[in-house]
């Protein structure tokens, strides 16, 4: 089984082929940026992109992601280390508190801005409703998404 993650193809060892995608990413491939929180696909801490669409990797069998393009938080910045505008806006707005949910929040925000380049509050609330933050950083997340939208459109 092969897994293409952040542009790199990885061989998945036999004993890992019945795991969730999240377990393989974290424990087999060492990409620990996507996090386990609820384990039932309800909180969004584990969100990655599969063929450009967000997915909860904690409930996705790794076999169903084989051969598809997987993007994780580790693949968001440029190869030269330059941050994606969403990541930079997350820093500029001081979004994280404990930080545990933030990888998933950022990946979900990326999906939103791909679909809706200029989201309003309702768009944001709807798109981000599957991403929980126990620290309650929702207001800063909303500000960051709006700011990133401007940056990505060359308006900021």
């Amino acid at each position: 089984m092969k897994l293409k993650v952040n542009g790199t193809v990885h061989e998945v060892a036999r004993e890992w082929q019945e795991e969730t995608l999240l377990s393989v990413l974290r424990e087999h491939l060492g990409l620990t940026g996507s996090r386990l929180s609820c384990g039932i696909g309800q909180c969004g801490a584990c969100v990655v992109h599969i063929d450009g669409r967000p997915a909860n990797s904690c409930v996705m069998p790794v076999a169903s992601a084989a051969g598809r393009d997987i993007l994780t938080i580790e693949g968001l910045a440029g190869e030269d280390g330059s941050l994606h505008p969403i990541q930079q806006c997350w820093i500029d707005e001081n979004v994280p508190q404990c930080g545990y949910c933030q990888s998933g929040q950022i990946m979900q925000a990326l999906a939103l801005l791909k679909e809706t380049p200029s989201p309003d509050d309702d768009d944001i609330d709807r798109a981000m409703s599957g991403n929980l933050c126990r620290c309650g950083t929702y207001d800063r997340i909303r500000k960051s998404i709006k700011r990133a939208a401007l940056v990505m459109q060359g308006m900021d």
Binding site: E15, E18, I91, C98, R134
Partner: protein, 510 residues
């Protein structure tokens, strides 16, 4: 308690390797009391700052990090005192062998307790550097002016901190018998460059790029995965246990059953799930749950009907016939801390000859509690155990005890391999310590000008006993001035104004 000699401490932290280091002590409130560090030794609470030979300020953060940013605030204080930026500080979360024990990170006391000692230490370090600058520039000390990252003279001769320290290393022992240096942080007349300003907390970049910072992100070669059964309530005992299906789970390494502890170690996380699902268990409860009795115990009105608590009047205005302007009852249900990160730990046992027999990576509010508990649990000396604290994905007061670490330690010992344990969300809600239910009666009386004249707050809540005392229902922080004990009823009028009447008292449940 392990006593870490000053020399051992300095070597462990690299202070003697080079640069200029100040060792300072955090005062009484920084000394640990609850939950585990009961007898702090003279080294307790020590922390240190260092200017490395390259001029970088290294700071061993004295608080555990769960996103509350206490260390950010303390780093701002250090930056203020040293005329540098927070980005110029290399912050390190020390392991339990690197520094003497620090108090549990809890109760929102970090800045209150740590800010002044930190400012004093940084100011002492700055003034020591200023004396060196004076010698180097052949000027009187009072002619050496502050500059960014160093000092200057009135004629703009500059010297940086890197110019003032070398590879030989030196240590300043903070001496509180001498006059304290000027502390910039608390000088209200001084325009602050760091304190009070919004900054990006150290570590934010790692959070938005997904770098490993949490316990479950720890990766050690040869790691196995494990989990243990969690009893439905504390002190429950296994009545019946059927593990006959576990042996057939592919990827199982070991089923571990020691008295009331049952866990599995497997090659992969899903094998752990499969093995745990095959365990059938029933529990005996020492004390059956009686919700009606709990409700009765946590009822402030029932308690008030028993009459006044034993108390001492501090003035004569606490009268039964007072007209209360506000009289409200609040009931707080049992609350779980429900942090975003299910707690996790990695444990590894090493062969003799290693610096430590047992290593533990975990996110905890009290690493020294974990160290002590692990030593007691395994029969090791505390010197043989080291805890590497990791960032926590939330804590909220619920991560102070030896819980997931116990599971990892026992399983790792059973298989003599590193074992990673991460609780499930169900484990979190079943087995983690909760904030217990409480009931409150708040009464406020005002005077003719509508100013608060008297506030009385009565609360009924279960409290955790001190070690060695009788058991209680659950654990919460006691009110100042009250002893721990079984199911206290606390009667604590507040002192919110000069005219407020103060009465204190409490009693145990019947």
């Amino acid at each position: 308690m392990t006593k870490l000699s000053r020399r051992k401490f300095l070597i462990a932290t690299g202070c003697v390797a080079g640069g200029l280091t100040i060792v300072y002590k955090l005062r009484n409130r920084a000394m640990a009391s609850a939950p585990t560090i009961i007898f702090p030794n003279e080294e307790s609470g020590a922390a240190w700052l260092q200017i490395r030979p390259d001029g970088v300020c290294r700071m061993y953060f004295p608080r555990q990090d769960m996103g509350q940013n206490a260390n950010t605030g303390l780093a701002q204080i250090v930056a203020e005192e040293l005329n540098i930026e927070v980005d110029d500080i290399e912050g390190i979360l020390p392991n339990t062998s690197a520094v003497p024990p620090l108090a549990v990170t809890a109760a929102s006391m970090s800045l209150t307790a740590f800010s002044r000692p930190t400012a004093l230490a940084a100011a002492t370090l700055r003034e020591s550097l200023r004396a060196r600058a004076a010698e180097r520039l052949d000027q009187p000390v009072d002619h050496i002016l502050d500059d960014s990252g160093g000092f200057r003279t009135a004629k703009e001769r500059k010297v940086s901190y890197a110019d003032l320290v070398d590879e030989t290393g030196a240590v300043i022992e903070f001496d509180d018998s001498k006059p304290a240096p000027a502390i910039y942080t608390f000088d209200s007349s001084r325009k602050k460059t760091q304190v009070g300003h919004t900054i990006t907390p150290p570590g934010t970049l790692k959070l938005v790029t997904g770098e490993p910072v949490y316990a479950a992100d720890t990766r050690i070669e040869g790691t196995l995965y494990g989990r243990a059964l969690q009893p439905p309530v504390r002190n429950a005992h296994i009545a019946t246990l059927d593990t006959s299906g576990v042996d057939h789970v592919r990827g199982l390494v070991r089923l571990v059953h020691e008295d009331n502890f049952v866990g599995v170690v497997c090659e992969t996380p899903s094998a752990v799930d499969a093995a745990m699902a095959k365990i059938n268990v029933t529990w005996d409860l020492e004390q059956p749950i009686n919700q009606e009795e709990i409700d009765r115990l946590v009822d402030v009105d029932i308690e008030m009907a028993k009459g006044d608590l034993e108390h001492v009047l501090q003035d004569d205005a606490h009268r039964k016939d007072i007209d209360w302007d506000i009289d409200l009852r609040f009931d707080v249900q049992v609350q779980t801390h429900a942090q975003q990160e299910p707690r996790a730990a990695v444990a590894r046992f090493n062969d003799s000859g290693a610096d430590h027999v047992l290593e533990i990576w975990t996110g905890t509010q009290d690493p020294w509690a974990i160290k002590r508990s692990a030593a007691m649990d395994t029969g090791l000396s505390q010197d043989d155990v080291v805890v590497y604290p990791q960032r926590m994905g939330g804590g909220f007061g619920g991560r102070e005890y030896y819980e997931v670490e116990r599971d990892a330690v026992r399983l790792a010992r059973a298989v003599n391999r590193p074992v990673k344990v991460q609780w499930t969300r169900k484990d979190e809600f079943t087995a983690s310590r909760c904030r217990p239910a409480s009931a409150h009666r708040l009464r406020i009386a005002t005077d003719s000008r509508q100013s608060v004249r008297l506030v009385v707050w009565l609360c009924v809540r279960p409290c955790r006993p001190r070690e060695g005392a009788d058991g209680g229902l659950a654990a919460i922080r006691p009110s100042p001035g009250h002893r721990y004990g079984r199911n206290k009823r606390c009667y604590r009028p507040l002192s919110s104004a000069a005219s407020t009447r103060r009465v204190h008292g409490c009693r145990s449940a019947n």
